[in-house]
């Protein structure tokens, strides 16, 4: 048979790029680009170009296995599924339903996440969560309160229509690379771009004004921008009067945040704060883009509120080229949240009465012996969660751990039973991108050996527990159409109709609805009074400050050729070649003081643990700060699990650390 094109969605980040996978004789042999795609115009970052490399990787899990005294033993699916079902049932019987924990996955389809959270709820617990807790829980809290909706207000392509774009805490050039093309297009029209980040990243290369703020001082900076906007009469008084409440309290709060005061807190020169505020305040259409530099703080919810405040007082919501755009990290993190794979929400963000344990709380409950058995679908908390040594100890304490994954991840290594999952191109289903764009990814090839789609695995476990679960993704999507009003019109028939590129954007309330690219056009439909809520917030310093023992501020982030815990990208040779090892960026002055040379091995330590890394000396960060990518197992040994009180997201972005040279020869 000649090569066939199969429409698929990239398995990496939340941009939701489409790619055509070419299949020949049952193997995925090539990629073709999709220039008509509305989010990416066919572009793919390096990760998307390497997406086929994980499919027939020698490390793939190919059979169910159980851990025995002699190591891993291959078992049948029947035995594996019975082991999981029996252990979940007996744990519930002996210790109650809340001794069970379920981790869903932002890498899995909507249907798979819907099924897993449904299984958790039917078992009688709300202890179901996933890594959205670690990336955008603050967005869910902050934007739900402000706008009544926890999602991007405008599509990415809308950035091309903005006159000013404020990018804060997002390194989109590396992490959502196709977004850069829309920003360049805005600049072609004369748009001003402001980038606020502790590091001069390749995203800062796009900036007209760069604001290098100290890690964790975002609220001060954002309040400072509001201060200047109000002082100079740049606020949209009509919008404030007609569409918002809470303005007076913000006006009082903002008076204290003069550019001079904010400069002292953030380290950003006052004149740059003025320039940024004027650019945003005067623009006919202005958009704010943010990411985990905003959310992963003990003040994450406040940071998001401060962003929403800025958009509300300037009337920059509900029109083309405006809005607040949280860039979601994973191909289906938006969808997993929409599907209710969160401790406090049912599908469609209906609140549960008694919220369950979140990702980080599950680890504490496991360590305390309250959580006894876990089912993990495609997540790798040992690498992705903060305070990793604690996570490792907690998971080891469980009576029973089952992991469904594509590879034997650091987490799967701790499991009692490992269930081999089909990879992205070996199954079909829908994914919801950061734009709320729901797209169908078709099956390209058969799963590796005995690997099976996560939906099939969850349905089989559920059936053995006495629940009637469908394992056909189309049937599950029909159930979602009925359960989630915003998805009511996103039927499998529409998503899979030939020639549909770019899926449908929710809310899509009926099967004739074209989808809703821009939210909050006439009203904030899901706030109690239909208005945008201005919620004044005060600057609070991060949980941890540098001191004598740990004198540097460590912040973490991503690099363009790796992805999250690295279980896929570190197994892609063409990606790994560019960044093969963990590094720590240090400023030249710190490097000189500490006696570090470029590429030398160093030990990085925090109050929680230590790891080794290669020194990378750069003036893209300021003196006194350090940066490490979190794709390698060492980084989150160091990070803090101090939580935002509302969103319960850990403060990955600020930890006090110390760096020491490791003498040649290694051990000291």
């Amino acid at each position: 048979m000649p090569p066939q094109p199969v429409p698929t969605i990239c398995p990496y980040c939340g941009v939701g790029c489409a790619l055509t996978t070419i299949v020949e004789d049952g193997r995925a042999v090539g990629i073709e680009y999709v220039p008509e795609h509305p989010a990416s115009e066919g572009a793919l970052c390096p990760k998307g170009n390497a997406a086929l490399e994980v499919l027939d990787h020698p490390d793939r899990l190919r059979y169910p296995m159980k851990r025995t005294a002699g190591g891993w033993t291959r078992i049948s699916w029947d035995e594996a599924l019975a082991l999981v079902a029996d252990n979940l049932a007996s744990t519930r019987q002996e210790h109650g339903a809340n001794a069970l924990g379920f981790l869903a996955s932002a890498k899995c389809t909507n249907e798979e996440n819907y099924a897993l959270q449904k299984l958790a709820r039917l078992m009688g617990t709300n202890n179901v969560d996933h890594c959205a807790r670690l990336c955008h829980a603050s967005t869910i809290v902050g934007l739900s309160r402000a706008f009544g909706g926890a999602a991007m207000t405008n599509p990415l392509s809308d950035l091309a229509r903005a006159d000013c774009i404020l990018i804060i805490g997002s390194n989109l050039s590396e992490n959502h690379a196709p977004a850069a093309r829309w920003i360049w297009r805005a600049k072609d029209r004369g748009a001003r771009v402001i980038v606020a980040d502790p590091r001069f990243t390749p995203t800062a290369w796009l900036a007209d004004t760069f604001l290098q703020l100290r890690p964790g001082t975002d609220v001060a900076l954002l309040n400072g921008l509001a201060h200047v906007i109000l002082r100079e009469g740049l606020a949209d008084r009509d919008f404030i009067a007609q569409r918002t409440i809470g303005f007076d309290a913000l006006a009082r709060t903002a008076t204290a945040y003069s550019p001079e005061v904010v400069a002292a807190i953030t380290g950003v020169p006052a004149e740059r704060i003025l320039a940024a505020a004027r650019a945003y305040g005067r623009a006919p259409a202005a958009a704010i883009v943010y990411c985990m530099g905003i959310t992963q703080h003990t003040t994450g919810s406040d940071n998001v509120a401060a962003i929403a405040n800025l958009a509300l007082i300037c009337g920059q919501v509900g029109r083309p080229g405006t809005g607040v755009l949280p860039l979601r990290g994973q191909n289906n993190v938006q969808g997993a949240c929409d599907m209710g794979a969160l401790a406090e929400f049912l599908p469609g963000y209906r609140r549960v009465e008694a919220p369950g344990l979140t990702v980080v709380e599950m680890m504490y409950a496991a360590a305390a012996g309250d959580l006894r058995a876990m089912l993990v679908m495609g997540e790798n908390p040992v690498v992705s969660d903060p305070n990793a040594d604690h996570v490792l100890a907690a998971l080891e304490k469980l009576d029973f751990l089952a992991v469904q994954d594509v590879f034997l991840t650091e987490t799967a290594e701790l499991a009692h039973v490992v269930l081999p999952a089909a990879a992205w191109a070996e199954k079909e289903g829908s994914y919801t991108s950061t734009e709320r764009r729901v797209q169908w990814s078709h099956r390209v090839t058969d799963p590796a050996e005995e690997a099976r789609p996560d939906l099939w695995i969850v349905a089989q476990i559920a059936r053995r527990l006495g629940f009637d679960f469908a394992d056909d993704p189309r049937a599950v999507l029909r159930e979602i159409n009925a359960a989630v009003p915003a998805y009511a019109g996103i039927t499998p028939e529409r998503l899979t109709e030939p020639g549909r590129v770019g899926g449908l954007i929710w809310p899509c309330p009926d099967p004739a609805h074209p989808g809703t690219p821009i939210l909050h056009v006439d009203a904030f439909d899901n706030t109690p009074d239909g208005r945008g809520h201005i919620i004044p917030v005060e600057y609070r310093p991060p949980a941890e400050s540098p001191g004598d023992a740990y004198p540097l501020v460590l912040t973490t982030g991503r690099v363009v050729v790796h992805y999250n815990s690295g279980s896929m990208s570190r197994r892609s040779a063409s990606l790994l070649a560019h960044e093969p090892a963990l590094f720590v960026e240090v400023h030249p002055a710190d490097a000189q003081r500490l006696g570090l040379t470029e590429g030398a091995a160093v030990e990085v330590a925090s109050a929680r643990g230590k790891t080794t890394a290669q020194a990378r000396i750069t003036n893209t960060i300021a003196e006194g700060w350090a940066f490490m990518p979190f794709h390698f197992a060492g980084t989150n040994v160091l990070t803090s699990d101090a939580l935002d009180p509302l969103a319960r997201i850990p403060e990955f972005k600020v930890a006090a650390c110390a760096i020491e040279a490791v003498p040649p020869g290694g051990e000291r």
Binding site: Y33, E41, R181, D188
Partner: protein, 157 residues
């Protein structure tokens, strides 16, 4: 007019997508090379298909030859693997491929152009920095942008 590969260097965000795409399209041989300068700038570099090509002059085996359509083309079966072209290239974009004892250089994805498809680096570039166009088509938007920057610098009217 001949269509060529043009790079809008200001736009490159150092993401390496062109490199990974090129490597995939050419069975592991990479003909695109992104060079980063002082953590402030990066440039994707590939064969410029020079009019007076130092590599063609250096190649005594006629493995690298200048074609009437303006391309410099490579024939692996004539290559001796001597690397003189590697030394001659002022852009450092001819590399020795040890696996087959021959060099490798950007072929403009001629196999794709023949089928009416653009080179992969052009299609994949997230920033829209790489273009395959005629000279006039490429420079028109660049000149417009340069003019816009001048307007921007004027005092407000």
């Amino acid at each position: 007019m001949t269509r060529m590969l043009y790079v809008d260097y200001e736009r490159c965000i150092d993401c390496h997508a062109c490199e990974v795409a090129c490597q995939r399209e050419h069975a592991g041989r990479r003909n695109m090379h992104v060079a980063r300068v002082q953590d402030r700038f990066a440039a994707p570099l590939a064969c410029r298909h020079c009019d007076h090509s130092p590599c063609v002059v250096a190649c005594y085996a006629d493995a690298l030859t200048a074609w009437p359509d303006g391309t410099v083309r490579f024939q692996a079966d004539k290559c001796t693997g001597c690397s003189l072209c590697v030394v001659a290239c002022p852009f450092g974009v001819i590399v020795l491929d040890p696996a087959r004892k021959a060099v490798t250089q950007c072929d403009l994805c001629l196999h794709r152009l023949d089928e009416g498809r653009l080179p992969v680096c052009v299609l994949t570039c997230p920033a829209g920095a790489i273009h395959f166009d005629e000279y006039a088509g490429y420079v028109a938007p660049v000149r417009r942008r340069a003019a816009l920057a001048m307007v921007d610098a004027l005092p407000p009217s």
